[in-house]
């Protein structure tokens, strides 16, 4: 009996210790490095910009499933035709100057007579009601290089666990990994080709769903349609993904990943060198840009050059002033239409007419000026003491386990 009590006491003690270990801990500074540039600002869509959502907030935002969620607005109503929307403002939102956030009627109402669905409402509100009311506030920054965030003690959602976050921006993936190995950073971005190498006992690798499209963009309008099509048909995506990308990412002929659009498989990815040879005019030449700082894209460009040369097109690579460029296109929204419009804007091409996503995407891709190749996930390397990290960069729930 006495042993039974002892066993019970030990079990209770273990439970208490375990609870203490798993319970989020307040305090600490998280060191994050990112390749993103100076994109944190009040004029941007905070939800679509890494870390900006930790500082700025709007009335609503889309969650990871594309559904509109309350943010500064706690509730909303609309008429039957979904043409007029009225939002209820959150009451306890404190601005940096200590005053309460009190939006006007015009902020809280969407008086458009045109029927709007939730997506359009979210889009129309992105830049309408931005307030510096997030979980963190800017303490110190060197634009484009460094920013230090401190916890917003008066955050309406409760104080975040972290005391502060230091974000190094504009860092190459290579430098980030070096800093990570040297213990200078807690969270860094990694290439998908580094996943295997990063899988070590003291490293946590977090891989998101595909959030980045790798596409070949023809910058030179003088490159003819047949050449562009021949290039698209020459590229052996599967071999590249299998060997060079270590089977990571997804082969894709679409701009949006399958998990967002659901129709990505409809865009062909098969290689057809014979047809490419037929399409390529004799003596055709092509110059491909390669970014010397991005080793993954650089090696992909080298392989594309080899593949395309099989169709009779003389290919050379260069640093600048090229006919085509291989780029990374972050998917800004989980909503297909919104993401496509954002991509069109980023690529400075004509926005497709609003309609079914497949039609919009086909309109963007029909002339082969944009040749999607792969969908890459976001890959993060975390120290084991970083808890609750999400690929969306929601820092409010992140906490650091005590070493």
């Amino acid at each position: 009996m006495r042993y039974r009590w002892i066993a019970l006491a030990i079990s209770c003690l273990s439970a208490v210790v375990a609870a203490g270990v798993l319970r989020p801990r307040y305090g600490g500074t998280l060191r994050v490095e990112t390749s993103a540039g100076p994109k944190i600002g009040a004029t941007e869509n905070p939800a679509a910009t890494p870390f900006a959502g930790q500082i700025y907030e709007t009335l609503v935002h889309c969650d990871s499933h594309g559904e509109m969620k309350p943010w500064l607005a706690t509730a909303w109503t609309h008429d039957a035709a979904m043409g007029k929307w009225i939002f209820s403002a959150r009451k306890n939102v404190v601005l940096p100057n200590g005053t309460l956030w009190t939006p006007g009627e015009d902020i809280l109402a969407v008086p458009d007579t045109k029927p709007l669905d939730e997506i359009l409402v979210e889009a129309s509100l992105q830049n309408k009601a931005v307030a510096e009311s997030g979980a963190f506030r800017i303490s110190n920054q060197r634009p484009g290089e460094f920013i230090r965030l401190v916890a917003n003690e008066n955050y309406w959602g409760g104080r975040p666990f972290l005391d502060s976050v230091e974000i190094q921006m504009g860092r190459t993936r290579h430098d980030q990994l070096l800093d990570f190995e040297l213990g200078k950073a807690d969270v860094v971005e990694a290439e998908i080709t580094d996943i295997k190498a990063l899988k070590q006992p003291n490293v946590v690798v977090q891989v998101s769903k595909p959030r980045e499209t790798i596409a070949l963009i023809f910058e030179n309008a003088k490159i003819s349609d047949p050449i562009r099509q021949a290039v698209a048909l020459s590229i052996d995506r599967s071999s590249m993904q299998r060997v060079m990308l270590d089977k990571q990412g997804e082969v894709s002929g679409a701009l949006l990943p399958q998990w967002i659009s659901g129709y990505a498989f409809l865009f062909p990815t098969a290689r057809d060198v014979a047809r490419a040879k037929d399409l390529a005019p004799p003596g055709a030449t092509l110059s491909l840009c390669e970014d010397p700082r991005d080793r993954v894209l650089r090696s992909l460009v080298d392989r594309i050059a080899v593949d395309v040369s099989q169709s009779g097109i003389a290919v050379r690579t260069a640093i600048s002033a090229c006919d085509a460029d291989l780029v990374r296109l972050p998917i800004r929204s989980v909503n297909p239409q919104q993401a496509l419009l954002s991509l069109a804007s980023e690529l400075r091409v004509s926005a497709p007419a609003w309609g079914p996503p497949f039609e919009m995407e086909r309109e963007l891709l029909h002339d082969y000026r944009i040749v999607p190749l792969f969908q890459f996930p976001f890959v993060y390397a975390l120290r084991p003491n970083v808890k609750n990290w999400s690929a969306q960069g929601d820092l409010a729930d992140v906490w650091l386990e005590e070493n």
Binding site: V243, D246, S299, D302, R303, A305, V306, A314, T317
Partner: protein, 577 residues
């Protein structure tokens, strides 16, 4: 050009030519020696290149064999033996193998040459290796090949391969500047390895070939081996071949700097020798020509003096050679000439005096005979018939007076010839002068049945002349013509204008003159006539000469004679002022 100058030029050219020939001969000999030495050096370097190829080839073979026995390749080979092998994870392993074994080029391929992993071009996986073309090669045998590079060019390399199960390991070392450095070029020798139009290198690194080299390379690709001089280098270019395929061109160049330096030295010495020789030749030539031409010049000076009338000119040449003999002969000739001239002058003077004496005797004898007869008649008349004496005396006195006048006339003509007055120039119409000259003789001309004709050809200008002297000269010619045509004939005066002169031709149809008569016609006191004084034509010549004109006679025996007088239109004022 003087004889001295000619002699100097000849001597200088001879010296220069000799020096040039010697210099050229030395140059050619030196060049041949250098070319032979250069060819030997080039062949030696070529042989060294071949040896280095073998050495490097053996090293590549060893490295490949070492890589082939590595654990890494064993793992790949094991994967290859699986039913569905997946080589994706070996994508970068070729780079590791290449680094470990010091091979810049390494491909791990399937036995069908499909690349599984490539060290120098990783992204070429899945494609066929296209530089392992030595089908006849054995695994331990290195071979030359060209390896395509990502930038579109190709590298020449020494390759070898190793089989490992279903895998083929192909590695190569590039023939680059480091390889060329291993050749150990001697000073003054360099090697260039041409791989392609855009790729050529030497031991120092990449080289850009100019058009001359490109042409040499292209010619070598056709002929396999060519020697050619480019700039200050002599190049031997040979193709590099493997199993009939050409992979590049090796150019072995030897500097011609030493040869050029020697050639320049030879030329410089030759020029100095030539210059010194020419200078010496000039000095010797000058000295020689001075000795040779001095008597010649003396002779020339003597000859010019003789030609100028100085018959006393002597040539002083002390030499005892042929020139001395020539000078002595010259001096002897002038002495003899003077002697002969003196003799001729004396003879002529004697002849003239004789002629003068004959004339005087003749002229004086003629009037003396009537004087003698007259005096004798007067004596006889006085002795015989005193009553007729007065009449005879009168007649005799008249005759004496006539003959005395005749004496005076004769003496007057001689006196006139001895003191011809200076002409007094005035404007004279030649036609009128002819008419005035002929008029006094019209009666005689008519008596002798001689027709006179005056032809004025064109416009004849008025000339400046002494009208009296001109009339007298023309009158003498007319009188001479009358005497020459005792049986009649024609006398033609033809006048024509010349440039700044007037020509008067007087043609008779008389018996003409012999050549001797023509040559002595204007000699004073010379006459062919029975009663002439020999002064008429001499006076004519004197008048013409005083008018700065000239007179000639054209005649032949039996064909008449033509006197041609040319007189200037204007006289020089200073002369007659």
């Amino acid at each position: 050009m003087t004889f001295r100058t000619k002699l100097l030029i000849v001597s200088s050219l001879t010296v220069a030519g000799a020096v040039t020939m010697v210099t050229g001969g030395v140059l050619v000999a030196a060049r041949q020696i250098f070319e032979r030495v250069d060819a030997e050096r080039q062949e030696a370097l070529l042989e060294q290149f071949r040896k280095e190829i073998k050495i490097q080839g053996a090293a590549v073979g060893t490295a490949i064999a070492r890589a082939g026995s590595s654990a890494l390749l064993a793992r790949i080979a094991a994967e290859a033996n699986r039913p569905e092998p997946d080589f994706a994870s070996f994508y970068t392993d070729a780079q590791l193998l290449a680094e470990n074994n010091g091979l810049p080029f390494l491909d791990i391929t399937h036995q069908d040459l499909t690349i599984l992993s490539s060290a120098h071009w990783p992204v070429r996986f899945g494609y066929k290796n296209d530089w392992a073309i030595c089908n006849a090669c054995q695994p331990d045998q290195a071979f030359l090949t060209k390896i395509p590079l990502p930038d579109g060019t190709a590298a020449m390399a020494l390759a070898a391969f190793e089989r490992r199960g279903d895998l083929l390991l192909i590695g190569a070392k590039r023939l680059d500047a480091a390889f060329m450095q291993a050749l150990g070029e001697a000073p003054g020798v360099r090697t260039l390895l041409w791989v392609g139009p855009q790729e050529c290198f030497s031991a120092e690194g990449p080289v850009t070939l100019n058009a001359q080299f490109q042409n040499l390379v292209q010619a070598t690709l056709h002929k396999r081996k060519i020697s050619q001089r480019i700039g200050n280098e002599a190049f031997l270019a040979v193709t590099l071949q493997e199993n009939g395929a050409t992979f590049g061109v090796l150019l072995v160049g030897t500097s011609l700097q030493q040869q050029l330096t020697l050639e320049r030295s030879i030329v410089r010495v030759g020029l100095w020798v030539a210059a010194a020789g020419i200078l010496l030749g000039v000095l010797l030539g000058w000295w020689t020509t001075e000795r040779v031409t001095r008597p010649v010049n003396e002779l020339a000076r003597g000859a010019r003096a003789v030609a100028a009338g100085d018959w006393n000119a002597k040539v002083n040449v002390a030499a005892g050679d042929e020139m001395g003999e020539l000078a002595n002969a010259f001096n002897k000739m002038t002495s003899e000439l003077i002697e002969q001239q003196n003799r001729a002058l004396q003879a002529e003077r004697v002849a003239a005096w004789r002629e003068l004496a004959r004339r005087l005797a003749h002229e004086l004898k003629n009037p003396l005979f009537p004087l003698q007869i007259t005096v004798e008649n007067m004596q006889r008349a006085h002795a015989a018939r005193k009553q007729e004496f007065d009449e005879v005396f009168q007649e005799g006195a008249r005759t004496l007076l006539d003959e005395v006048r005749n004496f005076k006339a004769i003496i007057g003509r001689f006196s006139e010839f001895s003191r011809m007055p200076a002409p007094h120039f005035e404007q004279v119409n030649v036609g009128e002068a002819i008419s005035d000259a002929v008029r006094p003789y019209e009666a005689q001309l008519a008596l002798k049945n001689i027709e006179v004709e005056v032809q004025m050809n064109g416009t004849v200008p008025v000339i400046q002349a002494d009208s009296d002297q001109l009339r007298r000269a023309l009158g003498n010619i007319t009188l001479n013509a009358i005497d020459a045509m005792p049986n009649g004939g024609s006398l033609t005066f033809s006048v024509a204008a010349l440039e700044n002169a007037v020509r008067i031709s007087v043609t008779d149809t008389g018996e003409g003159l012999t050549e001797e008569e023509g040559s002595r016609l204007f000699t004073p006191y010379y006459t062919t006539k029975q009663h002439g004084t020999g002064l008429g034509l001499a006076i004519v010549q004197g008048v013409v000469t005083d008018h700065r004109g000239k007179i000639t006679v054209e005649s032949g025996k039996g064909s008449g004679a033509t006197f041609v007088i040319e007189l200037p239109v204007k006289q020089v004022v200073a002369e007659h002022s």
